[in-house]
Symmetry: C2
């Protein structure tokens, strides 16, 4: 995209919080220019001496970028058989290069740096973002990027940048700011904004994501805003690809509609996109295949066909970010390495118009400063690698073939790695959804799972009379890590006796019993407001990502078995008290307490 033919992004500084407006650049920056006087002794800084860092090298054994197969047909090039499946990476104490954009060494990475981050890492992110991930951002100059300590840190900083806290005991209701979000939402985001007193404003969704129009859709919410609740929301928080928890992916058409409304009502879009590379083109087709409906959007499309290509078929085939329609520069996008490398990186980045990145940089200077040099160096070494002065990958330029395995992934390897991950998670999604799809009905007392003599069709026991009872429903996730399952509790034979709320809670405990042993994510964990708790209660979020591929089938079968058995129960004995149920399950604190992730 020729940025110069485009209009510059809008000045959106009226959205900055009062704290954000008052941030000043450090005066000490004015000293930087003197650092480059040849031979100058820098007595002005406050750096410890690098010879006192106790690390002489950092090293790693890492994966070849083709460790995992990709779904792409064109991907014929496998690692040659006999070649090592791992590679060595070494971050030296000091690199000979004087070019900071190529320098990966401990003397630089473990020393103080600027909020922009390790230059080689920041530069890689900037190139990847501007040239490959979002090659068609429609404003002059294009977006800028800033490293973060992961997307949660990025969101926290975006909220600090764009919102003033509101305290009912101190402020007027007319000062209360608000944030739009999907009806079901990643709760950590809500827990970030709620203590600030922000008005949390859910927008109705369908299987794709947020609705632009219709009842409860964005236009409806904004056009009928009740100002007695506070100001018209000026922010939106959204996950548009593999939405958490619903697994939906917003089409480009829907993005255009919602963006138009955000322009009309002057709303900043905070797009959280941790699963952008985990898009599953097969989901729609397989769902249609099972259900006998017409598949929409079966063939992977080239989303950049009318703009600049990303340079990679894989990236071109992905539904693009809101940034691709962001003529105003009102999109603030959060990225993370948590799902592409590892959550423990605590490394991500924000993409937005330069004026927003500038404010975020000031905030970073007085908070996290920059991500840990350990992760920056190790990720830079993994992807960018040591380079010679002329820009060649050091090992690649070497004639010594035995050193070939030290060649870094570079952009090609990085994109190939992403495609391999997509394939791995897509496989899990297909396995889980196929079994869920095949098992969603309880048919004729379920002879397949029950060796007992078949009841007569006119048997009066309610759980045996129905031909085909649907126990749950779901959409195949077009991205992400989750299946969002709605429990059809209204078909349960004991509905009248126990009521839906008690049944749902009992089902959740029942599924944890032997032999099912399935802990599913209660839908209430994803309700952004009290009002939505009731509806959310009818859902479970199932994560297919964490388990080994070979376990998905068995675990999902156990879950389906659990559903069947629950629909065949005659009472809820033993499922009344969570504590009692838990104690019977003999839970002991012995495993890895790793947190819930996202």
């Amino acid at each position: 995209m020729v940025y110069s033919t485009l209009s510059p992004p809008l000045d959106l500084s009226h959205h900055f919080s009062s704290v954000t407006k008052r941030r000043e650049a450090s005066e000490t920056k004015s000293l930087y220019k003197y650092f480059f006087i040849p031979g100058i002794a820098n007595l002005a800084g406050g750096l410890p001496n690098a010879s006192y860092f106790p690390y002489d090298t950092l090293e790693a054994t890492v994966a070849h970028p083709r460790r995992f197969p990709a779904t792409s047909d064109k991907d014929q090039i496998k690692p040659p058989s006999g070649s090592p499946s791992t590679e060595r990476r070494i971050v030296p104490k000091e690199s000979p290069t004087t070019n900071l954009l190529k320098k990966i060494d401990l003397t630089t990475a473990l020393q103080y740096g600027t909020a922009e981050g390790l230059p080689v890492m920041a530069d890689f992110i900037r190139q990847f973002t501007r040239n490959h991930l979002h090659p068609n951002v429609p404003y002059a100059g294009g977006p800028n990027t800033l490293l973060t300590c992961g997307a949660t840190d990025g969101f926290s900083k975006a909220i600090e940048t764009f919102t003033n806290p509101w305290d009912p005991r101190r402020d007027w209701i007319s000062q209360r700011e608000g944030i739009l979000c999907e009806e079901f939402v990643y709760m950590n985001a809500i827990q970030t904004v709620k203590p600030r007193g922000l008005n949390i404003v859910p927008v109705a969704i369908d299987a794709q994501g947020m609705l632009a129009h219709g009842k409860g859709g964005l236009a409806d919410v904004l056009e009928n805003w009740d100002f007695r609740k506070g100001r018209l929301p000026h922010l939106m928080y959204t996950i548009t690809i593999g939405q958490n928890p619903t697994g939906g992916t917003l089409s480009v058409e829907r993005r255009r509609e919602i963006y138009a409304l955000c322009r009309q009502f002057d709303i900043i879009i905070i797009e959280d996109d941790p699963y952008w590379n985990l898009q599953y083109p097969s989901a729609t087709a397989m769902e249609a295949g099972f259900r006998g409906s017409d598949a929409v959007d079966v063939i992977p499309r080239n989303y950049n066909a009318h703009g600049r290509s990303s340079g990679y078929d894989f990236l071109d085939s992905l539904v693009p970010s809101y940034l691709s329609v962001d003529t105003d520069g009102r999109v603030v996008r959060l990225d993370t390495f948590s799902k592409t490398i590892a959550p423990g990186c605590r490394l991500g980045w924000i993409t937005a118009q330069p004026a927003v990145i500038e404010r975020l940089t000031r905030l970073t200077e007085t908070s996290t400063q920059q991500p840990s040099g350990f992760v920056q160096a190790m990720v830079a070494e993994l992807i960018v690698g040591q380079q010679s002065e002329d820009g060649q990958n050091a090992a690649g330029a070497s004639k010594n073939k035995s050193r070939k395995s030290e060649q870094a992934w570079q952009m090609d390897g990085w994109v190939r790695w992403l495609e391999g991950l997509r394939a791995g998670y897509e496989q899990r999604m297909q396995t889980m959804c196929t079994i869920l799809e095949e098992g969603k009905y309880l048919i004729d007392s379920d002879s397949a799972w029950d060796d007992a003599p078949q009841p007569m069709a006119d048997d009066e026991n309610a759980w045996e009379v129905l031909d085909k009872m649907q126990m749950y429903e779901f959409s195949w996730p077009t991205g992400g890590m989750f299946v969002w399952v709605k429990v059809c509790i209204e078909t349960h034979p004991l509905l009248e006796k126990y009521g839906s709320e008690r049944l749902i809670q009992a089902l959740w405990l029942h599924l944890m019993q032997k032999p099912y042993l399935c802990l599913s994510g209660p839908g209430t964990m994803f309700a952004p407001t009290q009002e939505l708790l009731g509806r959310a209660q009818g859902y479970y979020r199932l994560c297919f990502a964490a388990m080994p591929a070979e376990d998905v089938s068995g675990i999902t079968r156990r879950l389906v078995d659990g559903f069947r058995a629950f629909w065949q129960r005659k009472n809820l004995d033993g499922l009344d008290d969570e504590e009692v149920a838990l104690s019977r399950l003999q839970a002991k604190g012995s495993g890895n307490l790793l947190g819930l992730g996202c």
Copy 2:
């Protein structure tokens, strides 16, 4: 210290900001207990699959803890000659131990975790802090700790926890909160609080640090508080050891006086202590030796003589934290690995009473989550190391001597490493201060530096007539990384012609000229308020830490030469325009732009 005989810390929740008060624990935590059901399939979490992390091992070559000599006489045990000066560390993909407090592996460190951090790292910090660094915190139960992404992150979180932003266009002056600080102060702290609209309230200092009593001291400021400026400050920001920029260290006696005032006026003390292990007992004695005065506090004291010992002579000899007098639990202390391992760690911790740590943990959950697993794993591997189930260091327990070099530092090695760093920086401090001390007077036109014929004593040129002109004055720093030098510009022969302000600015440029080539830190970088800019202008901060030990002498001599030459100048030709001066210095952006540090 027997914590049970002490009173519990005070409830200081009235100091929490309105946002802090409203933070809620994640409901998803209630699911943790189910994770431990034997054989449970966790479909509720949102973890990526650890097999997709591209790192199979992380490794490092690290220093032996005795790499640098210590000043301690008792320290006779040097690394045996011929033994390797480096050691290898390997963080495996998966550790066999089931004890999370001993587990250092990539499957854990690179996965999602809780805000408490990697258990083995968090546990080490807790043990070190409670048992060794602060063995005598005088409230029941003692303090708790929380990992941070360095002290700047820790300060930012403390400020978020204890202050409400104030906006003059929206709020009453009576709502404005304030923070006390030293007259000269680390500017990054000011830049953290200023945008929040806090009232920045400097307290007068002497060579030690903040004054409790006397003009401009803490009592004076608080007792004569002008409420038209806002609320009485309820926070204090202070660096009490090797203060930045002054190098002062606050005595225990002064701490008691200030703490008593903080109790009286209900003030939270945020103690930033990045240089706590860099205390220089030699400074006072050497300064007294040069100046013919009585040395005070020459002999290192055992500060824990009347309480529990830290277990290490070195730690016992250090001036203790405000925590050692914190009966109320009103001290929030910030620590960092920036000066003890490396700034690029972005790893530190907060120590405070448990109720404060709990609120900080909630904030961490929705911001940084936890420090990068890369740095946590590498630092844990450096200090704690792989341990067998029975608590032995894995390599140490091994009979195989060839593996001996894989033994981790453990607590003894860590403390020894700190002592070695202290010795290295103390040596630099002594070298710089000796040369500064010897060169602070310009004597009789300075024949030693001037081979020109000696002028007559009655020569009318002002710069040659004085016998002994003092060009600057300073106190020897008792800790930290800096010498805070006051320029005696009033002795300059050209004072009347140019005025002090212009002379000071010209001197700063002059010192950057060849052959002096010294960039010193302008005092104005450390003035917390506009009112203090004028006074601060007369100071330079000189960092002796960053340069190699063998360069300190030469660079300091160049600086002193520069002073002498400046006092001998007849005009300020060529020093009027900073830009012109800079261009003549041929500054080119080719070096490492690492930021200024602290």
